[in-house]
């Protein structure tokens, strides 16, 4: 429960929210999108 509360508090900060979301989505794009270079 305490872990969940810490995670929720972290996601209240724009920096942490951005880092988590951009890394998660970007990792998906890096591993799945077939365009390696532009």
């Amino acid at each position: 429960m305490a872990d969940i509360m810490v995670s929720v508090r972290l996601l209240k900060s724009p920096i942490m929210s951005f880092v988590v979301l951009a890394l998660a989505i970007g990792l998906g794009a890096a591993l799945l999108s077939p365009a390696f270079t532009d």
Binding site: L11, K12, P14, I15, S17, F18, V19, L21, A22, L23, I25, G26, L27, G28, A29, A30, L31, L32, S33, P34, A35, F36, T37, D38
Partner: protein, 403 residues
């Protein structure tokens, strides 16, 4: 760092690099087994456990990107070096390079969010937009350029709001380092440093820093461009391209240049707008995904900047107006670079103009509007989550299209 002179396939002098032949063959194989062939991308994964590309080297031309400075590639270079050191396959090495580039983008953009504290959520919303994340997750000069653009905007806005206080030593070092890096990044985004003019012309404590930022950025840009002039060659375009004659043509016929911009926007406006969302023409997600991405981006931005009346009110503020003029100047410079760089002399349209070149102007205007808007519809995380959803829809749409 990556480019050196050599002889192309037909014996002509060109710029590129000495690269293992197997690496070149691997990349071609990966590219043709996935990109551009919907439903086939999964075939690329069978090359994941291939042996590392070693053996004989050959000269490979990449003259169009040889003029970019090394400041754009430190992370991907580290990723590739680690892959080579671990003797990984080409696909695994490309993955490492893409992830390293993404991490650098996230680190620089996070710093921009930190500096734009009062509008941190807005900066985070722009930084997680589909174009930014997709470019950052690709081996490209654009990921780091976009991150530097966001950081320069944030630093300028922070310095404008705190210009009466003497800047800290850390701020001085960071601002000058970012200015130099932006000067060495893809042109013409060094023009963003014009945002520091209000600080440089004031009588406030930060005045000298404002002057130093503008001076160091433009000096770095000038020095690199003088050096790189001999490196650039518009590979693969028509022989009528002549940058000097085209510049003379624009100076002599400015209205024809303006007409070429209007004609390009009239004929390719839809494609350019599409590319601001999903960056490369070859990436075509199914229409429903494109619609979903577009809708979510628009809703996210509208919620961040507020009612239309507020936007118009914000536009009348001198700060927002100045920012918009700088955004317009950068857009004009981007069109000029494309026209002069790779279009035949006197062309009636600007060919090969991609929407992603305009991202820095749009980011600047959105952030300035958000900063100047009186009451955004929603403060906080909601626009960020909507933009993240838009990017996720874009990535899923691309994956479904190719797999």
């Amino acid at each position: 760092m990556f480019s050196s002179p050599g002889l192309g396939a037909h014996g002509e002098h060109s710029y590129g690099g000495q690269i293992p032949t197997k690496l070149v063959n691997d990349i071609v194989q990966l590219k043709y087994s996935s990109e551009g062939t919907p439903g086939e991308a999964a075939r690329a994964f069978k090359y994941l456990a291939d042996p590392a590309p070693t053996g004989a080297h050959a000269f490979v031309r990449f003259p169009a990107t040889a003029s970019y400075s090394p400041v754009l590639y430190p992370a991907v270079a580290v990723g590739i070096r680690i892959g080579r050191w671990l003797h990984l396959s080409t696909l695994a090495t490309l993955w490492l390079a893409r992830i390293a580039g993404l991490c650098l983008y996230v680190a620089i953009a996070a710093r921009a969010i930190y500096h734009l504290q009062a509008r941190g959520w807005l900066m985070a919303t722009v930084a997680v937009s589909p174009l930014c994340v997709l470019q950052a997750a690709t081996i490209s000069a654009d990921g780091v350029t976009n991150a530097l653009v966001l950081l320069a905007i944030a630093l300028a806005f922070q310095l404008i709001s705190t210009k009466t206080e003497p800047p800290s030593r850390g701020m001085v070092v960071e601002a000058i380092a970012i200015a130099v890096a932006l000067g060495l990044a893809k042109p013409p985004y060094v023009l963003l440093l014009l945002l520091f003019i209000p600080v440089a012309v004031s009588r406030d404590a930060a005045r000298r820093l404002g002057i130093a930022v503008i001076g160091s950025g433009f000096a770095a840009s000038l020095a690199w461009n003088l050096y790189a002039q001999g490196l650039y060659s518009p590979g693969g375009v028509t022989p009528q391209v002549n940058t000097r004659r085209q510049l003379k043509f624009v100076a002599g016929h400015p209205l024809k240049f303006l007409s070429a911009i209007v004609s390009t926007l009239r004929h390719s406006g839809g494609r350019i707008a599409h590319e601001v969302l999903i960056p490369t023409p070859a990436w075509n997600p199914p229409f429903v995904f494109l619609l979903g991405t577009t809708g979510l981006v628009i809703v996210g931005l509208v919620l961040s900047t507020g009612r239309l009346a507020n936007v118009f009110a914000a536009c009348r503020r001198p700060f927002v107006l100045t920012t918009m003029v700088i955004g317009g100047l950068i857009a004009g410079a981007v069109f000029l670079l494309a026209y002069v760089g790779w279009n035949p002399v006197g062309a009636s349209q600007i060919a090969e103009f991609q929407g992603r070149y305009l991202f820095p102007c749009l980011a600047l205007i959105v952030i300035a509007l958000g900063r100047g808007a009186i009451r955004p519809y929603v403060r906080g995380a909601v626009p960020l989550y909507l933009m993240s959803a838009a990017t996720t829809v874009g990535v899923v749409g691309l994956s479904i299209h190719f797999y």
